[in-house]
């Protein structure tokens, strides 16, 4: 397969996953904003949301006022914001268009349709669209595309590159969301265990569509340790870091078999998986959750680079 084709498939799914995360963040901010203003005047949820995307500065420069409508514009509609839902959907569709012949017609139809629907949403009167509508649409659309991929794509190298895109992006996004909650969102450590704290945990779980799953797995009692365990180390949860690397490993191994050649990327993914598989949540907190997550985000970027160097440049022999 052409390296550029593989790169387009890899980035197509990364953008799809990213659009989903942006929508979830928007939803999380929206729910947090419903929280009564009792926590000592801290209403900086929107700012936290933007910080997690590393986009606070860009937002301030362009919009200034940190009000819901502006954030909604910025995170959903703004094509100048590269991680807005609209930007991501457009970028995913553009990547797909370039490699159309590597996609089944169902997958292309689903992606193309999402783009057409997005254009229809953009044309609507803004008072007619609510944040939950936008989030729902995004989650439904990305699920439809992923479903089409699972149902129809041949299980060959291209399929694995799509999965690698999903896995790498999802690991990055989960780590960032968790980091936002723990490090950015809560005004100070004094609030840990407070009502505000648990409200925010709930929203985070909701944003990850993990609220009921968590309840089922941990009996409902909210605690930082358990939630961190759930989002990092629990292989039953599909967005957990561990799950992402199980997926990444599976598909890198498939590529190695497919091509009859193992590369440093497989090595790197295996090490990452081994570390997470053996880690206990106490170790994570000993290291410091923020420090651990920062390290994970960097290693994840390293894995993405490795996949790029080994497969997407076409020069590695």
């Amino acid at each position: 397969m052409l390296s550029r084709t593989a790169a387009n498939l890899f980035w197509m799914t990364r953008y799809l996953e990213r659009s989903e995360t942006t929508a979830r963040l928007l939803d999380m901010g929206f729910r947090n904003a419903l929280l009564p203003d009792t926590g000592g005047g801290f209403r900086n949820e929107w700012s936290a949301v933007l910080q997690s995307k590393g986009a606070l500065q860009g937002f301030n420069d362009k919009y200034g006022d940190l009000v819901q409508r502006n954030v909604e514009s910025f995170l959903f509609f703004d094509l100048e914001n590269p991680s807005s839902v609209a930007s991501c959907v457009r970028a995913a569709r553009e990547n797909a268009r370039i490699v159309r012949t590597a996609l089944t017609s169902q997958v292309w139809d689903a992606i193309n349709l999402s783009y057409q629907e997005l254009k229809a949403i953009q044309r609507k009167e803004r008072s007619q669209v609510s944040i939950p509508d936008l989030t729902d649409w995004t989650l439904r659309t990305t699920a439809l595309i992923r479903g089409a991929i699972e149902m129809t794509q041949l299980r060959i190298d291209g399929y694995s590159f799509m999965h690698l895109g999903y896995a790498v992006e999802r690991a990055d996004n989960t780590a960032r969301l968790l980091d936002v909650k723990y490090y950015v969102l809560l005004p100070s450590v004094a609030y840990i265990g407070s009502g505000l704290d648990s409200y925010q945990w709930t929203t985070l779980l909701r944003a990850l569509s993990a609220h009921r799953a968590y309840g089922w797995a941990y009996g409902g009692e909210l605690s930082a340790n358990r939630i961190a365990h759930f989002l990092i180390l629990n292989p039953k949860f599909p967005r957990a870091l561990l799950s992402c690397y199980i997926d990444a490993n599976t598909h890198l191994d498939q590529l190695a078999r497919f091509y009859g050649r193992s590369t440093p990327a497989q090595e790197e993914a295996r090490t990452l998986l081994a570390e997470l598989a053996e880690a206990r949540i106490e170790d994570v907190f000993d290291e410091g959750l923020h420090e651990f997550l920062t390290r994970m985000i960097n290693r994840n970027a390293g894995l993405a680079q490795s996949i790029h160097d080994q497969y997407l440049t076409g020069e590695a022999r």
């Binding site: 052409l2 390296s3 553009e94 370039i98």
Partner: protein, 472 residues
């Protein structure tokens, strides 16, 4: 009374044989059914993503070219004659190319002026003396034809570089078969879907001698922003070959390589859809980012084949066009089966005199011009325009050629009120490799505006499915 234009369906009111089956078809078609089918066709085209400008006309890449459902039909006998003429012309053009890049016999024989060829910008010094595999330079020859009578066809121009539009030929048929399957059950329409297989076979047949396995053939596109990108990806997909951009290829040693997820893979044949000037910044335009640096060296040392060969454009130049019948006689020892449009070379004083005296009847074009720029359409110009043009012509006669205005044939076309005759042209795609092949079909362009002779899609032109009815 006879019609001013040859009507391909009703010759002076009499239904012509190839259209026999279609008369009841359209007569029995209720208006609302037709509207429904038309909408269905557009939907299909949009779904397939066929939105591109034919012949590099530019414009909105997401624009659909209007599709007219009324097919244009040829009998097998008509097509056989055309086919022989087209293949003959394609062979002669290739013989000319391999001659002028090697010995230049036709020039030594005094049949074509040396400067017309060698001073032509399309003549590539870089490939002089180089013989591509099988001596073939132009592997896909697009020949634009118009019809003026039952047995009268004229060649408007040749295209030896990278003629586009063939995806319309294939998709128009695809859409017609989906919408009107019974038409194909009742009529013995010769299939065109073998084109992709033939094209791939043609390309593989010109792999370099150095290639000792099944050749790796790729299609080189300028990229997904190009207006013909859809056609590129469509053809690559049908042939089962990789669609590559310049950045996907690189040169190392004596070969050209493709970047794949398994590492570099050798490329043997490049069907390029980018112009000569952009192929290799180390040989042509140094600022080109679309091409592959070093490619021309690999090509000229026999490591890869480029289709069509750089420099093939010298055969389809407007000034060279006049000499194509001469090429047929010189290289093939045959009389040309397809006629050129009579052309006056204003560089010749006799011709110039005639042209000056008949400006109001003629079309006068610049030799190297394109896109209708600097052109005079005599019958449609007022006196002042003609006089102004006449002065310009007198100043630099060798820059102009003149042709009569042709009475393009018409074909029935769906209009608001039913059907009506509209002018059409024809572009078949002839393949030249180890064999010379032509599928029984072509792209028909139709001028949708009443009375218009302009078939360009940018000026209200559309396309039609083109049928050849197989022998009983």
């Amino acid at each position: 009374m006879t019609d001013a234009y040859f009507n391909e369906m009703y010759d002076n009111g009499n239904l012509r044989t190839p259209y026999r089956m279609l008369e009841s078809w359209y007569q029995n078609m209720p208006a609302e059914f037709r509207a429904g089918k038309q909408a269905e066709a557009e939907d299909l085209f949009r779904r397939y993503g066929i939105t591109f400008a034919v012949y590099g006309e530019g414009g909105d890449p997401d624009r659909l070219i209007p599709f007219d459902m009324f097919p244009r039909v040829f009998t097998a006998a008509e097509w056989r004659r055309l086919e022989r003429g087209i293949k003959q012309r394609a062979r002669a053009l290739n013989a000319f190319l391999s001659d002028v890049y090697e010995r230049g016999e036709i020039i030594r024989a005094g049949r074509i002026p040396a400067d017309l060829v060698y001073r032509n910008d399309a003549y590539e010094i870089a490939v002089a003396g180089f013989r591509p595999p099988l001596g073939v330079f132009s592997h896909i020859v697009g020949i634009d034809l118009v019809r003026t009578g039952a047995d009268q066809f004229y060649v408007l121009e040749d295209n030896c570089r990278t003629p586009s539009g063939v995806s319309y030929m294939l998709e128009n048929r695809e859409v017609m078969m989906r919408m009107f399957p019974h038409l194909f059950q009742e009529n013995r329409v010769a299939p065109v879907d073998g084109y992709a297989r033939l094209l791939k076979r043609t390309l593989a047949s010109v792999a370099p001698e150095k290639c000792d396995r099944a050749p790796n053939v790729v299609l080189l596109t300028p990229g997904h922003f190009n207006s013909a990108y859809y056609e590129h990806s469509f053809l690559a997909d049908l042939m089962g070959i990789e669609l590559v951009e310049g950045q996907d290829l690189f040169v190392e040693g004596d070969f050209c390589w493709m970047r794949t997820t398994e590492g570099p893979k050798k490329v043997d044949v490049i069907y390029r859809r980018i112009d000569d000037a952009f192929l290799d910044p180390l040989c042509f335009r140094p600022d080109s980012a679309l091409g592959v640096p070093g490619l021309m060296n690999v090509y000229r040392s026999g490591g890869v084949t480029i289709c069509s060969a750089p420099g093939a454009g010298v055969a389809d130049d407007k000034a060279i066009y006049t000499y194509v019948p001469e090429m047929v006689r010189f290289y093939l020892g045959e009389e040309p089966l397809l006629q050129n449009v009579p052309t006056w070379q204003c560089a010749r004083s006799d011709d110039l005199k005639y042209v000056q005296e008949h400006l109001s009847e003629l079309v006068v074009k610049e030799v190297h011009g394109s896109g209708g720029y600097g052109m005079l359409v005599g019958p449609k110009s007022d006196r002042a325009t003609i006089e102004a043009f006449s002065a310009r012509l007198a100043e630099n006669p060798s820059n102009y050629i003149a042709q009569p205005t042709l009475a393009l044939s018409t074909c029935p076309t769906f209009v608001e009120a039913g059907i009506a005759p509209r002018h059409v042209d024809l572009r078949p795609y002839c393949l030249v490799g180890r064999d010379v092949d032509l599928v029984p079909g072509a792209l028909t362009r139709v001028a949708l505006t009443e009375g218009s002779l302009v078939v360009n899609s940018s000026q209200g032109g559309g396309v039609k499915d083109t049928w050849v009815i197989a022998e009983e």
